[in-house]
Symmetry: C2
Subunit: 138 residues, 2 copies
DNA sequence: CGTAGATTGACAAGTCCCTTGTCATTATGA
DNA sequence: TCATAATGACAAGGGACTTGTCAATCTACG
Protein backbone atom coordinates (compact mmCIF):
# COMPACT_ATOMS: atom_id res chain seq x y z
CA UNK A 1 0.00 0.00 0.00
CA UNK A 2 2.84 2.28 0.81
CA UNK A 3 4.04 1.87 -2.76
CA UNK A 4 0.84 3.42 -4.08
CA UNK A 5 1.29 6.41 -1.81
CA UNK A 6 4.85 7.11 -2.83
CA UNK A 7 3.96 9.80 -5.37
CA UNK A 8 1.47 11.51 -3.08
CA UNK A 9 1.68 13.55 0.09
CA UNK A 10 -0.15 10.78 1.92
CA UNK A 11 1.08 8.38 4.57
CA UNK A 12 -0.57 5.11 5.48
CA UNK A 13 -2.29 6.43 8.63
CA UNK A 14 -3.44 9.59 6.84
CA UNK A 15 -4.81 7.44 4.06
CA UNK A 16 -6.72 5.49 6.70
CA UNK A 17 -8.34 8.68 7.93
CA UNK A 18 -9.31 9.67 4.41
CA UNK A 19 -10.71 6.20 3.79
CA UNK A 20 -12.80 6.39 6.90
CA UNK A 21 -14.29 9.75 5.97
CA UNK A 22 -14.69 8.67 2.36
CA UNK A 23 -16.63 5.57 3.36
CA UNK A 24 -18.66 6.88 6.28
CA UNK A 25 -19.10 10.56 5.56
CA UNK A 26 -18.52 13.49 7.90
CA UNK A 27 -17.36 12.41 11.35
CA UNK A 28 -15.77 13.94 14.41
CA UNK A 29 -12.14 13.33 15.27
CA UNK A 30 -12.95 11.14 18.30
CA UNK A 31 -15.29 9.02 16.16
CA UNK A 32 -12.52 8.38 13.63
CA UNK A 33 -10.10 7.60 16.44
CA UNK A 34 -12.39 5.00 17.94
CA UNK A 35 -12.87 3.27 14.62
CA UNK A 36 -9.10 3.09 14.12
CA UNK A 37 -8.34 2.01 17.70
CA UNK A 38 -6.06 4.95 18.39
CA UNK A 39 -6.38 8.04 20.55
CA UNK A 40 -8.18 11.16 19.43
CA UNK A 41 -4.98 13.14 19.90
CA UNK A 42 -3.23 11.05 17.30
CA UNK A 43 -6.06 11.39 14.81
CA UNK A 44 -6.23 15.11 15.48
CA UNK A 45 -2.63 15.46 14.31
CA UNK A 46 -3.42 13.53 11.13
CA UNK A 47 -6.49 15.66 10.43
CA UNK A 48 -4.47 18.82 11.00
CA UNK A 49 -1.96 17.71 8.41
CA UNK A 50 -4.73 16.68 6.03
CA UNK A 51 -6.17 20.15 6.39
CA UNK A 52 -2.78 21.74 5.74
CA UNK A 53 -2.61 19.68 2.58
CA UNK A 54 -6.08 20.81 1.54
CA UNK A 55 -7.44 17.28 1.58
CA UNK A 56 -9.92 17.63 4.42
CA UNK A 57 -11.71 20.47 6.15
CA UNK A 58 -13.81 20.89 9.24
CA UNK A 59 -17.41 22.00 9.10
CA UNK A 60 -19.79 22.93 11.91
CA UNK A 61 -21.43 20.02 13.69
CA UNK A 62 -25.14 20.53 14.36
CA UNK A 63 -24.91 18.07 17.24
CA UNK A 64 -21.98 19.67 19.01
CA UNK A 65 -20.80 23.26 19.22
CA UNK A 66 -17.06 22.62 19.57
CA UNK A 67 -16.61 19.19 18.04
CA UNK A 68 -16.54 19.86 14.31
CA UNK A 69 -17.05 17.32 11.55
CA UNK A 70 -14.22 16.25 9.28
CA UNK A 71 -15.10 16.12 5.60
CA UNK A 72 -13.17 15.52 2.39
CA UNK A 73 -12.47 18.47 0.12
CA UNK A 74 -12.90 17.90 -3.63
CA UNK A 75 -9.12 17.65 -3.84
CA UNK A 76 -9.07 15.08 -1.06
CA UNK A 77 -11.82 13.09 -2.66
CA UNK A 78 -10.08 13.09 -6.02
CA UNK A 79 -6.77 12.09 -4.52
CA UNK A 80 -8.30 9.24 -2.57
CA UNK A 81 -10.09 7.98 -5.67
CA UNK A 82 -6.83 8.05 -7.58
CA UNK A 83 -4.93 6.23 -4.86
CA UNK A 84 -7.69 3.69 -4.53
CA UNK A 85 -7.74 3.00 -8.27
CA UNK A 86 -3.99 2.58 -8.20
CA UNK A 87 -4.24 0.05 -5.38
CA UNK A 88 -6.97 -1.90 -7.12
CA UNK A 89 -4.87 -2.09 -10.26
CA UNK A 90 -2.06 -3.64 -8.29
CA UNK A 91 -4.48 -5.93 -6.50
CA UNK A 92 -5.77 -7.29 -9.77
CA UNK A 93 -2.35 -8.71 -10.49
CA UNK A 94 -2.22 -10.32 -7.07
CA UNK A 95 -5.79 -11.56 -7.20
CA UNK A 96 -5.24 -13.43 -10.43
CA UNK A 97 -3.67 -16.33 -8.54
CA UNK A 98 -6.29 -16.51 -5.83
CA UNK A 99 -9.23 -18.86 -5.49
CA UNK A 100 -12.38 -16.82 -4.77
CA UNK A 101 -13.60 -19.55 -2.44
CA UNK A 102 -10.39 -19.29 -0.43
CA UNK A 103 -10.69 -15.53 -0.36
CA UNK A 104 -14.20 -15.77 1.02
CA UNK A 105 -13.00 -18.13 3.72
CA UNK A 106 -10.12 -15.81 4.53
CA UNK A 107 -12.55 -12.93 4.94
CA UNK A 108 -14.59 -15.00 7.37
CA UNK A 109 -11.49 -15.83 9.37
CA UNK A 110 -10.29 -12.23 9.49
CA UNK A 111 -13.72 -10.93 10.46
CA UNK A 112 -13.76 -13.41 13.31
CA UNK A 113 -10.27 -12.37 14.36
CA UNK A 114 -11.20 -8.70 14.41
CA UNK A 115 -14.27 -9.32 16.54
CA UNK A 116 -12.50 -11.74 18.88
CA UNK A 117 -9.47 -9.56 19.38
CA UNK A 118 -11.73 -6.58 19.92
CA UNK A 119 -13.33 -8.52 22.73
CA UNK A 120 -9.96 -9.51 24.15
CA UNK A 121 -8.38 -6.10 24.12
CA UNK A 122 -11.40 -3.84 24.63
CA UNK A 123 -13.73 -5.71 26.95
CA UNK A 124 -15.94 -2.67 27.53
CA UNK A 125 -18.47 -0.74 25.48
CA UNK A 126 -19.78 -2.64 22.46
CA UNK A 127 -21.69 0.48 21.46
CA UNK A 128 -19.20 2.32 19.28
CA UNK A 129 -17.91 -0.85 17.69
CA UNK A 130 -16.56 -0.93 14.16
CA UNK A 131 -19.18 -0.90 11.46
CA UNK A 132 -19.43 -4.52 10.24
CA UNK A 133 -20.46 -3.26 6.81
CA UNK A 134 -16.94 -1.92 6.43
CA UNK A 135 -15.44 -5.38 6.42
CA UNK A 136 -15.95 -7.97 3.71
CA UNK A 137 -15.60 -5.26 1.10
CA UNK A 138 -14.52 -6.58 -2.31
CA UNK B 1 -0.15 -9.37 20.65
CA UNK B 2 0.73 -6.16 22.34
CA UNK B 3 -1.46 -7.19 25.24
CA UNK B 4 0.73 -10.21 25.91
CA UNK B 5 3.81 -8.01 25.98
CA UNK B 6 2.40 -5.52 28.46
CA UNK B 7 4.05 -7.06 31.49
CA UNK B 8 7.40 -7.56 29.78
CA UNK B 9 10.16 -5.27 28.58
CA UNK B 10 9.39 -6.31 25.02
CA UNK B 11 7.91 -4.35 22.18
CA UNK B 12 6.31 -5.84 19.10
CA UNK B 13 9.34 -5.26 16.82
CA UNK B 14 11.72 -6.57 19.46
CA UNK B 15 9.54 -9.62 19.88
CA UNK B 16 9.78 -10.14 16.12
CA UNK B 17 13.56 -10.18 16.33
CA UNK B 18 13.47 -12.69 19.16
CA UNK B 19 11.02 -14.82 17.23
CA UNK B 20 13.27 -14.85 14.22
CA UNK B 21 16.32 -15.89 16.20
CA UNK B 22 14.27 -18.39 18.18
CA UNK B 23 12.97 -20.05 15.04
CA UNK B 24 16.01 -19.86 12.78
CA UNK B 25 18.95 -19.91 15.16
CA UNK B 26 21.98 -17.59 15.20
CA UNK B 27 21.85 -14.98 12.45
CA UNK B 28 23.54 -11.73 11.56
CA UNK B 29 21.77 -8.41 11.93
CA UNK B 30 21.48 -7.86 8.16
CA UNK B 31 19.97 -11.33 7.75
CA UNK B 32 17.30 -10.57 10.33
CA UNK B 33 16.65 -7.23 8.68
CA UNK B 34 16.08 -8.79 5.29
CA UNK B 35 13.64 -11.31 6.69
CA UNK B 36 11.64 -8.54 8.38
CA UNK B 37 11.76 -6.18 5.38
CA UNK B 38 13.42 -3.37 7.31
CA UNK B 39 16.89 -1.86 7.22
CA UNK B 40 19.82 -3.35 9.08
CA UNK B 41 20.20 -0.12 11.04
CA UNK B 42 16.72 -0.48 12.46
CA UNK B 43 17.33 -4.07 13.48
CA UNK B 44 20.70 -3.12 14.95
CA UNK B 45 18.95 -0.74 17.33
CA UNK B 46 16.55 -3.48 18.38
CA UNK B 47 19.36 -5.96 18.92
CA UNK B 48 21.27 -3.39 20.96
CA UNK B 49 18.30 -2.96 23.23
CA UNK B 50 17.78 -6.69 23.44
CA UNK B 51 21.39 -7.00 24.54
CA UNK B 52 20.94 -4.27 27.13
CA UNK B 53 18.00 -6.24 28.46
CA UNK B 54 20.07 -9.41 28.59
CA UNK B 55 17.80 -11.19 26.11
CA UNK B 56 20.25 -11.64 23.25
CA UNK B 57 24.01 -11.61 22.85
CA UNK B 58 26.43 -11.58 19.95
CA UNK B 59 28.87 -14.40 19.32
CA UNK B 60 31.73 -14.66 16.81
CA UNK B 61 30.74 -15.57 13.28
CA UNK B 62 33.04 -18.14 11.68
CA UNK B 63 31.98 -16.87 8.26
CA UNK B 64 32.68 -13.19 8.89
CA UNK B 65 35.20 -11.46 11.10
CA UNK B 66 33.17 -8.35 11.95
CA UNK B 67 29.58 -9.45 11.39
CA UNK B 68 28.70 -11.29 14.59
CA UNK B 69 25.81 -13.66 15.09
CA UNK B 70 22.82 -12.78 17.24
CA UNK B 71 21.74 -15.53 19.64
CA UNK B 72 19.21 -15.80 22.45
CA UNK B 73 20.45 -15.86 26.01
CA UNK B 74 18.77 -18.34 28.38
CA UNK B 75 16.82 -15.42 29.80
CA UNK B 76 15.76 -14.37 26.31
CA UNK B 77 14.74 -17.89 25.43
CA UNK B 78 12.71 -18.27 28.61
CA UNK B 79 11.00 -14.94 28.14
CA UNK B 80 10.07 -15.71 24.56
CA UNK B 81 8.68 -19.10 25.55
CA UNK B 82 6.59 -17.45 28.23
CA UNK B 83 5.29 -14.78 25.89
CA UNK B 84 4.56 -17.37 23.25
CA UNK B 85 2.62 -19.56 25.67
CA UNK B 86 0.63 -16.55 26.75
CA UNK B 87 -0.25 -15.72 23.18
CA UNK B 88 -1.29 -19.27 22.39
CA UNK B 89 -3.54 -19.31 25.44
CA UNK B 90 -5.32 -16.25 24.13
CA UNK B 91 -5.44 -17.69 20.64
CA UNK B 92 -7.19 -20.79 21.86
CA UNK B 93 -10.13 -18.66 22.89
CA UNK B 94 -10.23 -17.02 19.50
CA UNK B 95 -9.69 -20.22 17.58
CA UNK B 96 -12.69 -21.92 19.18
CA UNK B 97 -15.01 -20.16 16.78
CA UNK B 98 -13.01 -20.85 13.66
CA UNK B 99 -13.49 -23.50 11.01
CA UNK B 100 -10.14 -25.29 10.41
CA UNK B 101 -10.96 -25.52 6.72
CA UNK B 102 -11.45 -21.76 6.55
CA UNK B 103 -8.22 -21.24 8.44
CA UNK B 104 -6.32 -23.40 5.97
CA UNK B 105 -7.79 -21.40 3.10
CA UNK B 106 -6.88 -18.15 4.84
CA UNK B 107 -3.30 -19.36 5.21
CA UNK B 108 -3.16 -20.10 1.49
CA UNK B 109 -4.47 -16.63 0.69
CA UNK B 110 -2.03 -14.89 3.02
CA UNK B 111 0.91 -16.91 1.72
CA UNK B 112 -0.03 -15.87 -1.79
CA UNK B 113 -0.34 -12.24 -0.71
CA UNK B 114 3.10 -12.27 0.91
CA UNK B 115 4.73 -13.71 -2.17
CA UNK B 116 2.85 -11.47 -4.59
CA UNK B 117 3.49 -8.30 -2.64
CA UNK B 118 7.11 -9.28 -2.27
CA UNK B 119 7.28 -9.42 -6.04
CA UNK B 120 5.49 -6.09 -6.38
CA UNK B 121 7.58 -4.15 -3.91
CA UNK B 122 10.96 -5.90 -4.19
CA UNK B 123 11.34 -6.84 -7.84
CA UNK B 124 15.00 -7.75 -7.43
CA UNK B 125 16.96 -10.59 -5.86
CA UNK B 126 14.85 -13.66 -5.07
CA UNK B 127 17.90 -15.19 -3.38
CA UNK B 128 17.49 -14.11 0.23
CA UNK B 129 13.74 -14.55 0.21
CA UNK B 130 11.79 -15.41 3.32
CA UNK B 131 11.93 -19.01 4.37
CA UNK B 132 8.62 -20.53 3.27
CA UNK B 133 8.81 -23.00 6.14
CA UNK B 134 8.24 -20.09 8.46
CA UNK B 135 4.74 -19.53 7.17
CA UNK B 136 1.82 -21.90 7.61
CA UNK B 137 2.90 -22.53 11.18
CA UNK B 138 0.10 -23.77 13.39
C1' DC C 1 -33.87 23.14 36.15
C1' DG C 2 -29.33 22.08 37.96
C1' DT C 3 -25.62 19.50 38.75
C1' DA C 4 -22.28 15.46 38.41
C1' DG C 5 -19.97 12.79 35.13
C1' DA C 6 -18.44 11.98 30.48
C1' DT C 7 -16.77 13.86 26.14
C1' DT C 8 -14.08 16.96 23.50
C1' DG C 9 -10.50 20.50 22.00
C1' DA C 10 -6.05 22.04 22.66
C1' DC C 11 -1.41 21.90 24.07
C1' DA C 12 2.61 19.49 25.73
C1' DA C 13 6.33 16.13 26.51
C1' DG C 14 8.14 11.99 25.41
C1' DT C 15 8.99 7.22 23.32
C1' DC C 16 9.51 3.97 19.68
C1' DC C 17 10.41 2.59 15.18
C1' DC C 18 12.05 3.47 10.95
C1' DT C 19 14.34 5.96 7.34
C1' DT C 20 18.33 8.01 4.70
C1' DG C 21 23.09 9.17 4.57
C1' DT C 22 27.98 8.48 5.30
C1' DC C 23 32.55 6.30 5.88
C1' DA C 24 35.78 2.85 7.12
C1' DT C 25 36.34 -2.16 7.22
C1' DT C 26 35.67 -6.74 5.53
C1' DA C 27 34.09 -10.29 1.86
C1' DT C 28 33.32 -11.77 -2.62
C1' DG C 29 34.03 -12.69 -7.33
C1' DA C 30 35.84 -11.88 -11.93
C1' DT D 1 44.77 -8.60 -7.61
C1' DC D 2 41.25 -5.38 -7.79
C1' DA D 3 36.61 -3.56 -8.31
C1' DT D 4 32.23 -4.27 -6.17
C1' DA D 5 29.18 -5.56 -2.56
C1' DA D 6 28.16 -6.20 2.27
C1' DT D 7 28.72 -4.84 6.98
C1' DG D 8 29.47 -2.03 11.38
C1' DA D 9 29.04 2.23 13.39
C1' DC D 10 27.43 6.77 14.00
C1' DA D 11 24.31 10.50 12.95
C1' DA D 12 20.15 13.28 11.97
C1' DG D 13 15.48 13.37 11.35
C1' DG D 14 10.51 12.24 10.71
C1' DG D 15 6.04 9.94 11.59
C1' DA D 16 2.91 7.95 14.65
C1' DC D 17 1.51 7.00 18.89
C1' DT D 18 1.06 7.42 23.98
C1' DT D 19 0.03 9.71 28.46
C1' DG D 20 -1.18 13.73 30.92
C1' DT D 21 -3.62 18.00 31.72
C1' DC D 22 -7.17 21.72 31.81
C1' DA D 23 -10.99 24.23 30.24
C1' DA D 24 -15.25 24.01 27.56
C1' DT D 25 -19.21 21.44 26.16
C1' DC D 26 -22.55 17.82 26.26
C1' DT D 27 -25.53 14.26 28.57
C1' DA D 28 -28.24 12.16 31.92
C1' DC D 29 -30.39 11.95 36.13
C1' DG D 30 -32.64 13.66 40.25
Amino acid sequence: MEAGLADTALTVPLRAVLERVHAHGPQTVPAIARSLYVTRQGVQALVDRGRDLGLVETVPNPAHRRSHLVVLTPAGNDLFDTVRADELARLDVVASGLDPVDVAAAVRVLDHLILSLEGLTHPQTPTTSTDPAERSTR
